[in-house]
């Protein structure tokens, strides 16, 4: 083609291509800028929480945007406030030593040896120099006041033990639905899926009455035991995954004389590690957030409460100390956020499978 094109046509073509390329670049720039602006608005509450958690109590209550303090400078054993002083060469940050009506004496913190500097003008018109100071102490204070080790401990305990129960039982059930043919399988699977939209409230009242009758209220048992009997979300996701594993592997195992349970443990589970990881992550996040159950069963027993309930009570007591509440919120969100960043891919795939296949 190329040699056929005359020189004039070729330049016209190049120009058109360049125009297209410019238009493409412009669009890329606009779309990416829009995304950037949206992302900053979207993440602003996180930044706000971070900044507020580093303010002192007074700063948090009415507050400059950032946690700032008026800067001070120590000169000859005494502390003096630093002001922005306009001089010939621009604006200097000087510490005010001797206050006068029409003129005052300052000292330059960068060069205290030079001694006092006389400045003509009213010091009251000057802006104090502010420097950012972070109140890191809020974190240890919140940590101790809320008794975080205890709350976190219970949440981790609950998440771990129910993770083992929910994931292993769901894997068994999912395998049963994925690989075995039995009467009523389709109907049972529909029933299982329908439990997703059943409001838990319907079973909560009699369950509560029953657990209180056998003396389990005020303990973790009513929250842990039911988790060992599989749930619809996990079963669905794992079943979808098991369906993609080729049948031949199980047949080979069967020829070698392995029973179904052994085949499942030795052949299928090792293949399903990505799906198992995704389900485990979801369960972890569920447990971290779980609120209604722990609230009704543990409201009377402060010593056993998880973070979700503990933080709610803390919010009620310390509502005049927003900086502590923000520090506490930050401690609470850090672990899930870090886990998410490290396990993103598996996590996102899992959500897509549950959402799109259903």
């Amino acid at each position: 083609m190329k040699p056929m094109v005359t020189r004039r046509e070729s330049t016209a073509f190049d120009e058109a291509a360049a125009r297209l390329k410019r238009r493409r670049l412009l669009r890329q720039w606009v779309v990416t800028m829009v995304a950037l602006a949206l992302a900053s608005v979207w993440l602003m509450p996180l930044l706000y929480a971070g900044v507020t958690s580093l303010k002192t109590r007074t700063q948090a209550a009415d507050s400059p945007i950032l946690p700032t303090e008026i800067a001070v400078f120590e000169y000859e054993g005494r502390e003096y406030e630093v002001y922005e002083v306009p001089v010939d060469g621009g604006i200097e940050s000087w510490a005010l030593v001797n206050k006068g009506r029409e003129s005052s004496e300052f000292v330059d913190p960068n060069d205290p040896e030079a001694g006092l500097i006389l400045w003509e003008g009213r010091w009251r018109t000057l802006e104090p120099a502010r420097s950012i100071s972070f109140a890191w102490g809020n974190y240890p204070e919140a940590w101790e006041k809320i008794n975080f080790p205890r709350l976190l401990g219970w949440t981790v305990f609950y998440a771990t033990i129910t993770l083992i129960g929910a994931v292993s039982s769901s894997a068994l059930v999912a395998y049963g639905f994925a690989r075995f043919k039995f009467r009523g399988r389709g109907v049972l699977f529909m029933v299982l899926m329908a439990t997703i939209i059943l409001p838990p409230a319907v079973t909560q009242v009699p369950s509560y009455a029953f657990f209180s009758w056998i003396g389990w209220t005020g303990t973790w048992l009513p929250l842990i035991v039911p988790q060992f009997f599989a749930n619809a979300y996990n079963v669905f996701l794992l079943r979808q995954y098991f369906l993609t594993i080729p049948n031949e592997m199980e047949q080979a195992a069967a020829v070698d004389g392995a029973g179904p349970l052994k085949t499942f443990v030795a052949v299928i589970l090792p293949q399903a590690i990505p799906a198992m990881t995704a389900v485990s992550l979801f369960h972890f996040f569920f447990a971290w957030n779980d609120f209604f159950g722990p609230l009704i069963y543990l409201v009377s027993n402060r010593d056993l409460q998880p973070i979700s309930v503990g933080l709610t009570l803390f919010n009620g007591v310390y509502d005049t100390e927003p900086q502590l509440i923000m520090a506490a919120s930050f401690i609470t969100l850090v672990i899930p956020l870090v886990i998410f960043f490290f396990a993103q891919r598996i996590f996102i795939q899992g959500i897509v499978i549950t959402g799109v296949d259903k």
Partner: protein, 328 residues
Amino acid sequence: MSTVNEVTDEASRKRFRRAKSDLGALERKNGRYGWIFISPWLIGFFLFYLLPMAASAFFSMLDFQLSVPDEATFIGADNWRRALFNDPNVWRSWVVTLRFAVINLPLGLAVAFGFALLLNSEYLRGKNLFRTLFYAPSVVPFIAATLIFSQVLNSQSGWVNRIIALFGVDAVGIDGIRWFDNPTLIPITFTFIGIWGVGNAILINLAGLQGVPTSLYESAAIDGAGWWRRMWNITIPMVSPVIFYNLVLGLVGLLQYFLQPFVLNGTTGYPEGATNFYMIYFYKQAFQFAQMGYGATLAWILFFVALVFTIVTFGTARYWVYYSGDST
């Protein structure tokens, strides 16, 4: 109801066909192992679903105070009569809940779809980074997100009001925008908190968008269809199953909205009952007052409301949800 059955029949037939081709003689022989494998769920379903549901139906006909279980008496339909006709709080809490759902649901769906469109744009650079950033708030524990919003929307020191004030609105302070004290604003305030966590819906929408065959857009481009036409005639119909899924789950979730208002206002309903959601009222009756009978009745009413909404939503599906031949 018929549409629900049609949809499920279609799905189970497909599943059955696939299952039949998958299953060799070996598995057919081992059919009873299927029951063994699903037995954890069968037992759990019986113990933690069927039995409690039956008990709950029975409870709803009792006057049953948990503190004095021996004095429980059978009162027939009294609880139901009270909840449906004589307890104005039930209706008020439904108004609060549904008004919130009407505002939250369309906004949430639209925002999730909009973000997914943006993340799917061929012009966006750094897609993975933006996907992570938009998803990140969804892993923030609900309790922390609620507390953070209670501060960032604070009328005095919150940044939201300060940003609004930059546009010349008198937003800050006692006479400013009081997100948590103004009953009219409450549904919008809580919608903000909810929309922050639409990450899952964004990802599912995004996967739906990526699944639209490019050939459709190519032929539309040849026909000279513009952006809007492609959006209405290709994109939205093709991702409508995903939107439908988000709609059903969102609706059922919103009917049971509890954590955020409870964390901020307990069962007080502050301001002026605007946070008296149905689940809050249920919690108050069933677990604060330990009224097992009336609580069970309220739970069943929630169940029926959720059922009616789900059936109606499924019923509308045939008019707007498009299932192409090969989608699962």
